[in-house]
Symmetry: C2
Subunit: 348 residues, 2 copies
């Protein structure tokens, strides 16, 4: 039986959303157990034979600085949920809370695995092939070296391989052109490291990809630093919301367009389902000695349940062991790269 620890207080809506999602998740997954972490008063309405409550007296606010989450609120629901993973009581933790705090607490409590300097956040973005492209890092690792990008590629491959059962998922390096001579020095060196990793059989490296390849689904995984990843994600959210707004405006312009909307209703609903980002909720924090999943802060119950499902799949499929095995296999490369990081030659 697989157990998830849920930070029931996190996110914009707290227990109202997280508890509804937990109930629906438990109904859907007869083999799952949940540890609900939160302020007892807020959870008292909930009871289920496969759920237990672990109390926490504090809550990390969405705008709390990392320091407050780390040093002051030592009995926060977020922290206690991660502690369940550390103690072995749960195989994964899920939170919709403050990303920075979650990253910092997870790193502090669980530590990174050998060979990984920084945890990364891997975010699934829907693509035109009907699947999702896993983009990392979105965890705001702002200044990344070529080594970090290689580590992201190794971790992303392990994640996709565990979640989708693909043996050797393809990896693209996000760049401003497909040619190896494009991009900053760090990107060029990362390309070189990734090609070596591919030659050694540690990765299925496709080469450089561009921004549009994320949504085309050119590769299973797209690797970038956290700054670029954040801009790509937020820009996409902004565009999707603008397009959705335009469509709505056009269909509600007059009585005639409203009638057209009625006629087109089944089509528009099917379209909306396809572009519904809630289906892709649940980003993995990778590189830690324990599984932690991040839900979007504004998630509703449907979206939060997707994050629970994703964490559950990862835990059942031994994501942690797989990531560690992949990293162990790539260790010689990770280490040789680290030693000669500054001196890696760029292919002409």
């Amino acid at each position: 039986m697989t157990t998830l620890a849920v930070d029931c207080m996190g996110g914009d809506h707290g227990p109202r959303v997280t508890l509804a999602a937990c109930r629906s998740f438990l109904d859907r997954e007869p083999e799952a157990r949940l540890i609900l972490v939160g302020v007892p008063d807020a959870l008292k309405g909930f009871s289920h034979p496969r759920a237990t409550v672990v109390p926490a007296t504090e809550v990390v606010a969405m705008d709390d600085p990392v320091e407050v989450a780390l040093r002051r609120k030592k009995d926060s629901s977020m922290r206690v949920a991660i502690q369940q993973v550390k103690d072995g009581a749960a195989q994964a933790a899920v939170s919709a809370g403050n990303t920075g705090a979650l990253m910092a607490l997870a790193r502090y409590l669980l530590k990174t695995v050998d060979g990984i300097d920084r945890p990364a956040i891997a975010y699934p973005m829907p693509n035109a092939r009907g699947g999702a492209t896993t983009v990392l890092d979105l965890g705001a690792n702002v200044d990344c070296t070529e080594q970090h990008l290689l580590q992201f590629a190794v971790m992303g491959s392990a994640l996709v391989s565990a979640l989708k059962g693909v043996e050797s998922p393809t990896v693209g390096l996000l760049n401003i052109g497909e040619e190896v001579i494009k991009g900053s020095e760090v990107i060029k060196k990362a390309g070189e490291l990734l090609r070596s990793a591919a030659a050694a059989g540690d990765l299925n490296f496709h080469g450089n990809v561009e921004g549009n390849d994320i949504f085309k689904g050119t590769t299973d995984i797209v690797v970038c630093d956290g700054f670029v990843g954040n801009i790509a994600l937020k820009t996409s959210e902004g565009l999707a919301s603008m397009i959705g707004g335009f469509l709505k405006e056009e269909f509600s312009r007059s009585i005639f367009t409203r009638l057209a909307a009625l006629a087109a209703y089944p089509v528009l609903s099917a379209f909306r389902r396809r572009v519904d980002h809630r289906r892709y909720n649940g980003a993995a924090l990778l590189g830690l000695r324990g599984l932690v999943f991040k839900s979007h802060g504004s998630a509703d119950a449907f979206a939060f349940e997707q994050a629970l499902a994703r964490a559950y799949d990862a835990a059942r499929n031994n994501l942690l062991d797989r990531v560690q095995a992949r990293i162990a296999h790539a260790r010689p490369l990770l280490e040789s790269g680290a030693d000669t990081g500054g001196a890696v030659a760029v292919a002409p």
Copy 2:
């Protein structure tokens, strides 16, 4: 009378598209003159009382390296068109050719204005307010300093102020959060410089913006390095194309959905017009001693005509003088920043 020099051979479609756009543009603008630059054979079908042909024997291919455009093809249509601006025969040049070659040739022939290290490409992206957000740089200035970002802000402000008649357009610095402590060291220093510029009255600096603010239209201008700008643009193109594809698929799924599409046709057309990126074609190369506009390579005649219109507006509204005046006004700041670039304090 304002004259534009048109590289008729550039872009994916060459004269078939550029000449059609030129004819329509001349019909629409009775005060405009055009210098059509290209291989005489390709242009011989065209004649108009306000158009003259300047021959060029070579064409820069879309995949020609910059070196070929600069050193080998010395009689290319792209180069000859820019030369018209340098010689004072035209007030702006327009090309749909290879961006790297256009940047390099423009910089080599026209030179940058005093106070500007690198030209930048400013791209208008549609926003939810019904206007466009001007994003720069998209010219692949990959490693930018805080000084470059300040220069982009000054140039972008001059552009928007000239094209839209806004005295003091707002500038946002693209970042991964609104707080001043977010981002890389370069971004934090750029924020500090931009705040100083705002305090000195040289800029209307709004502060940090995030990716979604581009499409929200939070500020008139968004400043970023060329790597991040390229990723944001290409990611948006990829998403827009995926969403368009989904919508089309859903409406052509069966006879019923096709009927729904018929009913919704006027609405869908209005929607398509609103998100039609062709309307926003025409990016300015800024910071040069002459005006050059870049059209998308895949532009059709409608889109190429938008680029001509944009170049024409810039030339008529003295964009060049305005940019230079703004830069001259900001010179003390640009220079003080340059001297103490490494030592600028970051506000706590």
